[in-house]
Amino acid sequence: MWNRMEGRHPLTLKQQLFQPVITEIFSQRAFGWAALAAGALHFGLISAELPGWSCPFHHTLGIPCPGCGLSRAVMALWHGDIGTSLNYHAFAVPALLFVGLLIVTSLLPSQPRDWLTTQTAHLEQRWPVMAIAMALLFGYWLVRLVIFHDSYIALITN
């Protein structure tokens, strides 16, 4: 991997676009367990109508980050309220899919887990999945922030 501190050559743009982000997350069982524990705590707090993990960008700068509203959208989707979910964030379905895969990879025994990780690696080598997802998410956030500014801020803040 690219490490400026060790003075290695930086990756080319193409190599950066094809970085295996999902594979790396799925391949670390410790990461999966930690993410699930943190996610369960966050959603548990929200479900109990207690405050969850706050967004430092929105909190400090007053501007929602691209992920703001996603946890509420996932919660709404989980309860079958598709309209509310879409209203909060259109990326709730891929986010829920990602969380589902993270749960599966964390629970699976080594052999099927390795197979799943290998498949993800093949996919990420062939397509810049994460780069496309990030670009779409950024575009979606920009449109909401510029065109639907007032309603977006009101929705996320309330």
């Binding site: 690219w2 990756l11 930690a34 943190a38 207690l50 405050p51 706050s54 400090t60 691209p66 703001c68």
Partner: protein, 99 residues
């Protein structure tokens, strides 16, 4: 606005700034270690990914102090939110918008 509320808001702002500083610090570390895509994912993930990544790599990257500080600030932030709800200050503009 009374003095107590002003102090409360200042504490809330300080917690937010400290939280943001820790996030940016870990995102920069992540960018140096893993490249732009990981850092962007960390930014878009609203702190959860960089927070866990930071703890998993705290020993190797020598950032235990930052991670302990970030964890303490996060817990303190949640406690502040609970106080906010219990004291009825929740009627004020949202201080801790959820992700």
């Amino acid at each position: 606005m009374d003095m107590g509320l002003v102090i409360y808001y200042l504490v809330v702002l300080a917690v937010g700034l400290a939280n943001l500083f820790c996030l940016i610090y870990v995102l920069v570390k992540m960018y140096n270690e893993k490249g732009i895509l990981h850092a962007l994912f960390g930014f878009f993930c609203c702190t959860l990914y960089p927070f866990i990544w930071g703890w998993l790599n705290a020993n190797r990257l020598r950032m235990y102090d930052i991670m302990i500080f970030w964890s303490a600030i996060s817990i303190f932030g949640i406690i502040l939110q609970v106080i906010l709800q219990l004291t009825g200050l929740a009627q004020q503009p949202d201080l801790f918008p959820e992700i």
